[in-house]
Amino acid sequence: MSPSAVSLTTIFVIVAIGVAIGFLAGAHRKMDLEQWTVGGRGFGTLLMFLLMAGEVYTTFAFLGASGWAYSRGGPTLYIMAYLTLAYVVSFFILPQIWEVGRKYEMQTQSDFFSTRYGNKYLAGFVCVVGIASFIPYLQLQIAGVGIIVSIASFDGIGRTPAMAISVVLLVAFVFASGVRAVAWVSVLKDVLMVFAAVSIGIGIPYMYFGGIGPMFTALAHSRPAHLTMPGATTNLGHTWYISTVLLTSLGFYMWPHAFGAAFTAKSGHLASQRRRHAPLHHHSSLYLLCRLHCGFGRARLAQWRPLALNHRPQKLPALVPGGDRRSRCPDRNSARRHFHPDRCDPIR
């Protein structure tokens, strides 16, 4: 079997299993609105955990985070801080949201604002803001899926068909099974992501540098500025770090889906208990870390073009979309020249 046949088969099998899990998650349950949006408020610790982890760890962990580590370096560390601190925030707000949600039978973020402040226009406004914020977020995720599938299939499946197929399948199983599908499909996704992140994030440093330590030592020697802030940028320094981490961690639960996940828990106690362990149990932090390694590793690798991933250096920027977009602002352009000596043509 040729490599592309292997990868196409793998993609097909994974997608088929994922879709099957999605549909099965809601089977044999009477699907009323409460079951669909908040899982009948019956999620135990495990499902809650999977839902929370699943909604946060997306294509960004694979593309955006390592792309940033590669193109910008040090500032990428903000991701590790803001996620952990968002969970700290959740400890204080989610049990309360859950309690009020159960008492007044809320299912969405807008329900909360409508009941709490007694103003349906405020609730409508919250809803509109939520949806408007979701459009670029979803666009990014779907574009990410397109990139991953087209690269993983050796261009066997183009970006546009990949995006179209994935959206149709996703909408179909979410329509059928609601929030249960989201939680259960993340089981498959998380297992695969941990496996991929560990194998790439640890494997690549070992293959090319003999370990994670030697990789960072090599990077610290050749590009020490890349490992601290502002890294390869001119403006992402400590002020930026503090304001960004505060904004993204304190504002994290403004996301309608993150907020709404609180309504799925069986008990408020559980919500806080789950939160208590969240940062530690966050396997996801582990794979983010691995991805960062990988990104930093690429920053080093890019200097030795013959060694670049898969010996297909032209694919390198495609693997790190953060890298793709650098060209739009001047400091990113310098980063691009920095790491791609022969790719300094301005990109429109």
Binding site: M80, A81, V100, L280
Partner: protein
Amino acid sequence: MGVKKPSVGALLLGLIPFVAMCLSVSLWDRIEPMIFGLPFNLFWLVAWIVLSSLCMWAAYRVEVARDKKDSGAQ
């Protein structure tokens, strides 16, 4: 809506990770000393992912103790 506010002790414990991982960035954003092969800033953040959990565990204990006291008083 009658929802209990978190206690001051728990809030202070929750503040620790914010100081350690965010506000103090200029103190730890450096490469040396490298620990376990990681640059110091990366090591610091990884360590605080674990230590934040300890803080939140302590905050949880504080809240549970307060709940017990409250229900005992009633």
